[in-house]
Each structure stands twice: as C-alpha cells, then as structure tokens.
Symmetry: C2
Subunit: 313 residues, 2 copies
C-alpha cells in the first residue's frame, strides 16, 4: 500500500507518495502560502495531483501523515501555534478530512523525523531512540519501543528547550540557557565567529574567503580536520555542549541509539566518535550505565515526507 | 488480596503487609546488615514473620515488591550497583524466589515512590506524573499512563542527574551542575548556611540557636515565613533552581501532575504555590503549554513499602 507524507515547512510544503518500504515514489513541492486556508487549498491540490499522476486511488492509501513545525496537538489534529506562519489553533486534520476520506495523522516535524529514522532509516534496528535535529534550532524526538512518545497532550518532547546553563544565553522560548542556544547550527556559527575574532591567523579566515558572514556549521569542523588549533577548540567546546545535552537525555531514557539529524549531523563519524568518547567518559555512575550508540540520520531532506508517512505505520 | 512491600534503605530494611487499598496492615523493620546475603536472610525472616503474625498464606499474596536505592535492573531483577552498601550485581529477585513461590518485582526506590503516589497516594487522579524526591539527593520517578517508565534496560529516570548548570558544582555521579546539586535538601542547607554567613543579623541565627550546624531544610523556609529578608532570598533562589528543574521536565513530559516528595516537600502549599507561579511565568512558548499541577506526596515514610507493593498492581 501507499501513504501520503506531507512536510509543512516555513518555505515550502512538500507532498510525497511513499511506499511500504519508506521509499518516495513521487513528490511535489509548492511555496508555503501565508494563511492556513491557502496552504490547505494548495495541499489538497498537490495530494490529488500526486494520486492522479501515479494512478493511486484513495482506497489504496494507508492514509495521510503530516509533519508540521511548532506546537501540534496530535491527539486533536490541531496546529496550536506556529509562530513563523502566524498560525494559531488550526484544526488541520478536520479540514483535510473534508477532502479525503482516509486516516489522517499529524505530529510535530521533529517528532516525525525521529519516527521516520526508526521505522525506515538509520535506526531501523533499534527500539528505543532519542533524536536531536541540529539545525537553525534544535528539535527533539522520543521513540519508546518503536512508538512515538510526544509527552502529555502530545505537547512534550521539546528536548531543545531544556536548560543546560542556568542563567545562560536568552532563548526564543522565553527561558535562557537552553540546549538549543549552545548546540544548534546557529549557535555553532556564533561560537565559530567569536573564536575567529580572537585569532586573525586561523585558517578559518581563508576557508570563508576573509568574509566572516560566510561562516557556516561546517567551518570549524572542516578547519579542525586540517589541524587549526582555534577550530579544534571550537569543535571541542561544541562536543562538550552537545555531549552534556546527550548525557542528560541518556540519564532519563537510556535509549539503544541516539540519532543526530540536521545540518551539523553531516559530519557523521567525525562528530559521532568524539561524542561517544565524551559520553562514555562522563556516563552515569562512573561508566556503569548501559551503552547507547550515537548514529547519523539517513533520511536527509526526505525525512519530513517519509517521517510523516511513518505516522501511519 | 495482600502484597508484601519491602523498602531497602541504607539504615533499615522495612517490610510491610499491604492491602489492596494501599494500607499497611502490619510492618516490621530491622537494621540493614552489611552484606547482601545477610540482608536477604533477615528479609526472608521478616516476611515469614509478617505472614505468620497476620495469618496470611503465600497463596493470598499478589506477590512481593521491593524498592531499593542505587542502579536496579528491574527486568532482570538485579541490583546492579548500590554504592552505600557496597553491593554489585546482586540477583535479589532470583535469591528471594528460592524462598517464596510468588511473583517478585523490584525497582529503584525513587521509581516505586512515584508509583505509590499514583496508585495509592496524592496522584491517584492523574495518569501522567513526574516525581522529584527532595532528600539527601534528588530521586526521580516517571509515570506514563499510570505505568512506571524506567527508561531503557530499566536504567533511566535518573532525573536528579540532569545538568542544570554546565560546569557547576561537582556531583557524586561524576558530572557537575546536576539538578541534585542545587535542589536537594543537602544543597538547600548549603545555600542557607552560605547566606547566613553574609548576614549576622538574620533571624535564621536565632532559629538555629546560634549553631550553624543545626541548619536544616526547614530553616530558610520557616524564617522567610517570619519575613526575614535573607531567608526570603534563599527561598527564592531555591524556587528558581527547583522551578527551572521542573520546567525542564515539563518540556519533555507535560505531565498532569508534578509530585514533590522528600523532606523539603513538607513545606506543602507554601512551596508549591511559589513553584506553580514560577513555572507558569516561564512556561514553554510563552504560556501556551498545557498546565501541570504541582502537588505534595502524601505517603511520607510509608512511601517505600506502599510504593514497592504498588509494583504488583
């Protein structure tokens, strides 16, 4: 059978037809419109087009899964709050039900990314997993016994918004010192720039062609691979921040695997090995805790569509 | 029917006969012996005595539940590591099975305390709860849908050992800046003493009869009730530490209720009201998150026995 996966993003809405192996058969993408009404109209068009193009009937669908940023009440099918698009209390599932007589499920985008990796991606062989999506912000996903755990009222799992540093950097969530403020790509870029300003001889300057505005989430990692001391310092401090954040999760969940996604995770084993070493060194009860693998997400840009489709499995 | 609840502590082992309403019918207590073997022998004697004294037959038991400090693998029935008593890899359930042909379950003491409150105590009307036991250390318990969640390999839920303050005070767990270092009774006593040393006129000095070694977890709270400014400052800083720790948990679990146990929780509403106000002020997404009640544990000194018995429900 097939499933429709919908990935609502700030820039575009992607709709994909996904088979039972988690492969995207076909996908469409449109610019994200301003209002929820407009987004829904476009989404319905896309889904119908996708079904028609691929000669798939509604009866052949397991259903439609939707991943959406912001605060989502999956049990009620409502997008409670999506600040980037100015949405508040949008009953997305109910609205779509007017067009499609099939099962429709919705969850937060970071949650579906985690579910996708466990059902179809990097973590297929693990039952209990935690995922951090290290992008502009830090999204979190919790999988317990292969099932998505979203917290009470499906409104928890905001793992990026745990205080790591009391009284630290102010966070968009209203508190301060959150994990997100230290481990997001945005945070790493800030840490890299700060370090560069203290060392005019760092090869990071060459790497960005002398333009500090060209610093990205790779700059410090790539230059530390070349032996730049200042870049290595940035890398190690970032490992410390992310390692401590991961240890906090291990002490709660003791998952089989910790999945890293988002831009920073492209560093793969170069990052994972260092994190693993850090976590094993400082693990609970002086190394007596069960071990957790640290792995890289594999669904990449398709995580949104495939993860959303996984909501129907 | 009845259940035997066993509460293994550093000082004493308590064994109780508990009815199906969570009432202790009868209980016995002995000093905790040095070795696991000795503790088991005494425990078996106590259980037999309890059954005999109350004319209860093994067949009338739901089973035996055990709460034990340290790292416990409940799925295997093993106490992995109990530093205070020097235990390592003690197969407690298997050993007891040699004496009693009934169901035997074990879990960490903080876990069973939480379960006890949800099944028989303060949180009977709530499904999803998190509990902090604010004592010498800080224990954590997680209840999801009325069931104990212990993390993978039943080795998670170490909520007291989440970093709240990166690079902060050293913790017994090997890391630093843990919740426990700021919110345990031990921590509050330290904070109180520190504040007293900066203010020789504080009425806290009278409260302890001029002897700083008599400071306990109540000193700052009781003296702030009398309007002592320095005591109020200690109280408010403690509320800040504990409030931030609770908010971290809310962002993950969004429980219906947050249960506070241990010595500090005796402050009841005086503490809870202030925590509630703090948490609502700084709650996720600028107050858009579902509300969580903050309540005081009611099982008190019986929490260990009753909670252990709750493992069989």
């Amino acid at each position: 059978m097939y499933t429709i996966g919908v990935d609502i993003g700030g820039m575009s809405v992607k709709v994909g037809l996904v088979d039972d192996n988690g492969k995207i058969i076909s996908q469409l993408r449109v610019k994200t419109e301003k209002t929820a009404e407009e987004v829904i109209v476009k989404m319905v068009d896309q889904i119908n087009e996708l079904l028609k193009n691929n000669s798939v009937k509604l009866g052949e669908l397991r259903g439609i899964g939707i991943g959406c940023p912001g605060a989502v009440s999956s049990d009620k099918g409502i997008v409670e709050f999506l600040p980037n698009l100015g949405w508040e209390s949008v009953p997305l599932v109910e609205k779509l039900k007017n067009y499609f007589n099939t099962e429709i499920k919705i969850s937060n985008d970071a949650n579906v990314a985690a579910l996708g990796e466990v059902i179809y991606g990097a973590a297929k062989n693990y039952n209990d997993c935690i995922m951090f999506t290290l992008g502009t912000g830090v999204g979190g996903g919790i999988i317990i016994d292969k099932k998505l755990y979203e917290g009470g009222h499906s409104r928890g799992a905001e793992l990026g918004h745990m205080t790591l540093f009391l009284g630290g950097k102010p966070c968009t969530c209203g508190r301060s010192g959150c994990i997100e403020c230290y481990t997001s790509a945005t945070a790493l870029i800030g840490q890299t720039k700060e370090a560069m300003l203290t060392d005019k001889d760092s090869i990071m300057w060459d790497y960005v062609g002398g333009d500090i505005d060209k610093v990205d989430g790779k700059t410090a990692f790539e230059c530390s691979k070349k032996g730049d001391k200042t870049a290595e310092k940035v890398r190690d401090t970032y490992i410390y921040y992310l390692g401590e954040s991961i240890l906090n999760m291990l002490n709660i969940f003791r998952p089989d695997a910790f999945i890293l996604g988002g831009g920073i995770s492209a560093q793969g084993e170069y990052l994972n090995e260092r994190l693993k070493a850090y976590c094993e060194k400082f693990d609970y009860g002086y190394k007596r805790a069960p071990k957790t693998e640290i792995i890289t997400a594999t669904l990449g840009n398709d995580a949104g569509i495939i993860g959303a489709a996984a909501l129907l499995r």
